[in-house]
Symmetry: C2
Subunit: 121 residues, 2 copies
């Protein structure tokens, strides 16, 4: 639990919506579409990439895109993704987290391209 005095706590912070709604709710929810398993895979892939402690995959409550998720947002860039499969998670870790490339095929529609540059510390 060491704190880095000169930079953000994490190089990147990945939030995965794991919100669960009543199954009868017409909005649906990320939790019913396997988002917790996808979050755990993020954790595992981040660890495999040697980034444990530098990048964190967090559960989040409702991110407001219930019908389109599982929804993911990566900070500090603020890049939003809709994901579906384990391969989607691996591609975000391999490309966005490790190389700073936005994965456009998974990007939330109509969010304009932005470089995956980390905020200068």
């Amino acid at each position: 639990m060491s704190l880095d005095g000169n930079s953000q706590r994490f190089d990147r912070h990945v939030f995965v919506c794991t919100n669960q709604r009543d199954p009868k709710d017409p909005r649906g929810c990320c939790g019913a579409k396997g988002s917790e398993a996808l979050r755990l895979l993020f954790k595992e892939e981040i660890k495999k990439a040697g980034l444990k402690g530098k990048v964190r995959a967090n559960a989040a409550g409702c991110l407001d895109y219930c019908a389109m998720g599982p929804t993911v947002v990566v900070y500090p860039e603020g890049t939003w993704y809709f994901i579906d499969t384990p391969d989607d998670v691996r591609e975000i870790v391999q490309r966005h987290i490790l190389k700073g490339e936005i994965v456009n095929r998974l990007r939330m529609p109509r969010q304009s391209p932005r470089p995956a540059t980390v905020v200068p510390t």
Copy 2:
């Protein structure tokens, strides 16, 4: 649920840890220290400030500071706070969210001062 094509989805995204652990867990947890009520107060204060839809107060799973929370992180700056009271929430909204000032008295210890500048879009 409109998407802004040229900027981040939210001007600021506040995550409040609402994780609940077993009451016997020696680490404690933010959830047992009233963090969900503080999150709801963030929502209310953000709405009162006219920022609904521009700033979002989200629940988050464990942010890894169980003993020191309730823990809050504000993106895109990546500013971490430990909060305790409704006045702490109001001060973060009035100063950090509305004026871009870091609230140093609530800041996670040993996190160096950083300007609350939003990432250029």
